[in-house]
Symmetry: C2
Subunit: 355 residues, 2 copies
């Protein structure tokens, strides 16, 4: 791998008070960039001062959304060291996303080095207050300055990082979720399995509407039948129904979440039966009405685990686990965050120690 | 409306040879920009030298594809004057796209002034060779530098322009089209009716694959049943079957094309029956096999009208109008381009004379 050239910032930002962190706003002093050109491959990996990118107004990313991203975190442990959680899973998923979006594959060692070297350089930015971490956002964009609808020959892979608190200001308080019956986030054959901008763009209106109506997020239904549950907001979703854990299967329009995968592993470790399958909203509401819906939660890197306390669909409203954090939800949150922050053993080799 | 402030370029690019124009690459010397901020509305409209945009690496458009665009053209007529074709339709469609993508509505006079004032300033860039024009690309992007999945509070509407020849290097030669049976471009409830990046991003892989297999474009099927025809490449599509014109109806996942609408009007003017309805790929291939598929063509601003000479689906291949330009296809192309370039009357008030 080509050596990463480092250009240090001349001025440094003030680090934000960890108690007032807003998710994804306090970018650090540096960023990692590497260029790709057809025929040349990936070249010129570098860490440079954080600042605006000079992007041609005709660049593909601004018109045809040729863009993918990942999200992971660096955690400060009690002894002051810094570690990552399953970073190679993010790199591999980025390459899966790249394949769908006609972006180039990036060598795993290069993609990973962009993450690890930047975090090491910015290690003072990794906060140590409870529930805080350094959020890492690798992304790849197509940059050809040409308005024809074609894949880019020139791309960049960029990593930016920022200290974060919890994603939801509510913290682990249960959130109210609304079953979206108008907009669709993704459909089989589309881009739902890829972490690409278009899926999120498609979700903004419903998110705004949910918020305006007093809900935190929407529960997405599938685009074909409009009845099977896919995700919640930008998270995967799980339910405990009659003692069993249910989660939508990875059918092509659901993001293969790394927190999802980790939760399934932990649940199996603990002896739970986990069913990955189609779950209709009707089945869910019936379970709520007959008292077998015991818990519901979202899973994602940003929020880790987010308990669902209320579900609404049309005129129907149901409360889940008395609008309290359920036992499994709490246990998953504790187990995952204990591993992530180094407070517990790491039986599955999920942790990469950094410095 | 606030006055547009003009900052002229200090150096000027050489204008490209009109015979070698590649679509969408030769940007002119200036661009139009206007900012939007929640609470302040649209402000600071300006024309500035064309050049890279300084975009924060955390900007929404780079991660969540909050972006929409339009495409139209300025035409030079025989007397040297310059005119636009249905520009207000583009502005209105942009506002429809904005509503779906949680972007702000832009006043029609402001959006239009961005187009007309830029074209007037760049009038020397409007080419006069046959089939050439100045392509106009208005677009709007969400620019908040924050990684939470939310609509942007800060946006820009930008207009860039470039002289173009024909979109397809083949010109009006019939193209070979392949029925895409793997990827889906859009689904009802999604963003197919909006001119937004995600739809185009979703289409890139299939376009690459078609090209690698010797086809110009793909024919998109609907995302629900995977059997009804929606668009061809990034164009609307029309068929002449047994004397009647058929085109997919605007069902929510099909772009309401302005060239589509214009073609339908002309066809009705000429006494043709035009049916906007569901058309299955099966129906299309049956018509081809029993000899009633007389013509097939795509419609769009860039290519105007693009004849389809061959259709392939799985192992089946059919030739359309002996791989020649059909009579209606040619008549539509001639009628539209004659109006656009001022060679014919404009019975429907589609033309806006500029200078």
């Amino acid at each position: 791998m080509e050596e990463i050239k480092i250009t240090r910032a001349q001025t440094f930002k003030e680090k934000p008070d960890p108690s007032t962190l807003v998710f994804g706003k306090a970018m650090t002093d540096h960023m990692f960039i590497v260029d790709y050109d057809v025929g040349q491959g990936w070249h010129d990996p570098r860490i440079v001062p954080y600042g605006p990118l000079a992007i041609d107004p005709a660049a593909k990313v601004l018109h045809y959304a040729q863009e993918i991203f990942e999200g992971l975190k660096a955690y400060r442990t009690a002894d002051g060291s810094i570690q990552l959680f399953r970073p190679l899973d993010n790199v591999r998923r980025m390459n899966d996303s790249a394949a769908r979006m006609s972006l180039p594959q990036i060598p795993e060692d290069l993609a990973l080095a962009g993450i690890t070297e930047l975090v090491k350089l910015e290690q003072e930015w990794v906060p140590s207050a409870k529930d805080t971490s350094l959020y890492i956002r690798p992304f790849m964009v197509g940059l050809d300055a040409a308005l024809g609808v074609h894949s880019s020959h020139h791309c960049q892979y960029i990593v930016i990082v920022c200290p974060v608190g919890a994603y939801y200001p509510e913290g682990l308080d249960p959130v109210k979720i609304y079953v979206e019956d108008q907009d669709v986030r993704a459909v089989k054959g589309g881009t739902g399995m890829a972490k690409t901008g278009g899926n999120y763009a498609a979700s903004l209106r419903a998110g705004d509407r949910a918020e305006a109506n007093g809900y935190s997020q929407v529960l997405w239904l599938d685009g074909v039948h409009r009845k099977y549950i896919e995700e919640v907001g930008s998270m995967n979703v799980m339910f405990k129904i009659a003692g069993k854990i249910l989660t939508p299967d990875l059918n092509g329009s659901v993001l293969p979440g790394i927190t999802r995968r980790s939760c399934i592993q932990l649940l199996k470790d603990w002896g739970y039966e986990v069913e990955e399958r189609r779950i209709s909203a009707e089945e869910l509401f019936e379970a709520a009405e007959n008292g077998t819906l015991e818990e519901a939660w979202g899973t994602g890197t940003a929020a880790v685990v987010s308990p669902i306390g209320e579900l609404a669909m049309g005129d129907k409203k149901v409360t889940v686990s008395n609008n309290q954090i359920g036992e499994i939800t709490q246990r998953l949150y504790d187990a995952l965050t204990d591993i992530q922050w180094g407070r517990a053993e790491d039986p599955h080799d999920w942790i990469m120690k950094l410095c």
